[in-house]
Amino acid sequence: MARLTRGALLAVLCAGLAALGLSPAAAAPSDDTGLVRMMHLSPDTPSVDAYIDSVSDPDVGVVLPAVSYGDVSAYRSVPAGTYTVSARAAGADPQSPPVLASTVTVAAGTATTVAGVGRFAELGFAVLPDDLTPPPAGQTRVRVVNAAAGTPSLDLSLDGGTRLAGGLAFAKTTDYVDVPGGASTLTVGGGAQLPVQLADGSVYTLLVLDRDGGGLAVEPALDAASPGVVPVGGVETGAGGTAPAGAPVGRIALVVLTVAVLGLALTTRFRLPRRGRPARHAAR
């Protein structure tokens, strides 16, 4: 009895949800993969082969060969789970002990950057979660990594004095900040100015690198992108040419109305007075 009631309730609930547009498909979780990429941000560390191996499944893994200082790999899609991230000298036997290893957990629907940071002597992996939430309208989202060993304290600001990094130590990363999108000027340290183009709705990591032959190079890495203009609401993509003659609710209403009209017609037939005579119960 209780089971029957629950079943009926469930049916009602499903119907209600369907009516609200919350179909089972809409409630289903997104596919259970996440994204991972690698950055080599250690100026004096030679080129490495990077390995991302599932802890639970030896058959799941990604190899990024010959990653050099300043390189940003493409994002790779992996099943959600825990991974061992390791680095070996480029071309080294995959079975040889890695120069560096760590673990990172990848959740479904997220993106994670794993960066090799610091000087070779103190090399470490920094696990940087990438922000995939929408920036406010007309804004772009930026964080900074100081990967320049020659700059122990980095200042970086954008047009109008928006500070992106203040006294940022080597091998460290700032939090993300939201800034106006579009063309802008980046001021580095004492006053060097660089024109940058940061698209509305996008998310960036600005890598500040030691440059071959001295000086600094600023490399914008795109973390994520979205439309600069986000449409409001849904889309009117149907004219109704294949819709049933009436919506279900309309059809039921039609049936009720028909029955009511018929019933009314039947009753009134017997009650209708003959023309020209007063009705029996007519008020006087």
Binding site: G21, S23, A25, A26, S30, D31, S77, S102, T103, A111, V117, G124, F125, A126, V127, D130, D131, L132, T133, G150, T151, P152, S153, D155, A165, G167, A169, A171, T173, G189, G190, A192, L194, V203, R211, G214, G215, L216, A217, V218, L222, A224, A225, S226, P227, P231, G233, G234, V235, E236, T237, G238, A239, G240, G241, T242, A243, G246, A247, G250
Partner: protein, 190 residues
């Protein structure tokens, strides 16, 4: 490995502490020159055709924009799909959006069978730069238009993704509008 992980924590540290050194930093000038590393040049490509073999779709693409109220304007041609041109190009990073009608005033339109798509089905987009990009469907969702999942459909993604949008659910004859949108999510096929 535990020691290495601890080292990572020490190296990365707490970003809130970075500001402590700010006053000292003023005296410091990074060595010149400072240059901008070559960023990927703006890609002027646009998508020109979408094909979805599983449901018999083969359509060239028109550009779509938003109206004064900010709503996405659907294609005027019922037989053609459109690309939201203020958003990412299919194959570039981000959620590229294609929209098409489910039906016209008389019968089926270009995306009539969109809700038949299942995870794994392929969607191919040809671009004006000659690239052909293959996407794989990850899921199909339906949203009431007044509860449209804007962040999920248009929010940032770190990889190239695709959204296919059409109408679904009951048709409101008084407003001449379907109550729901069907959204197909797809990502670059590996």
């Amino acid at each position: 490995m535990l020691a290495v992980a601890a080292g990572v924590v020490a190296l990365v540290g707490d970003p809130r502490h970075q500001d402590r050194q700010a006053p000292a930093a003023r005296a410091e000038v990074p060595p010149a020159p400072v240059v901008l590393a070559a960023a990927g040049s703006a890609d002027p490509a646009r998508p020109v055709r979408v094909t979805i073999p599983a449901i018999g779709v083969d359509s060239d693409l028109v550009d779509l924009g938003v109206d004064a109220g900010g709503a996405l304007v659907p294609p005027t041609d019922f037989a053609r799909a459109g690309w939201f041109a203020a958003g990412p190009v299919p194959g570039d990073v981000g959620p590229a959006v294609l929209a098409g009608h489910v039906d016209s005033y008389r019968g089926p339109a270009v995306f009539f069978r969109l809700d038949e798509l299942r995870p794994g089905d392929r969607v191919t987009v040809e671009r004006s730069d000659g690239r052909t990009v293959q996407f794989a469907v990850t899921r199909v969702a339906r949203y009431a238009k007044d509860r449209f999942a804007t962040d999920e459909v248009y929010g940032p993604t770190a990889d190239p993704q695709l959204r296919l949008v059409t109408c679904g659910g009951a048709f409101d004859r008084s407003r001449r509008s379907y109550l729901d949108n069907v959204v197909v999510y797809a990502r670059l096929a590996q």
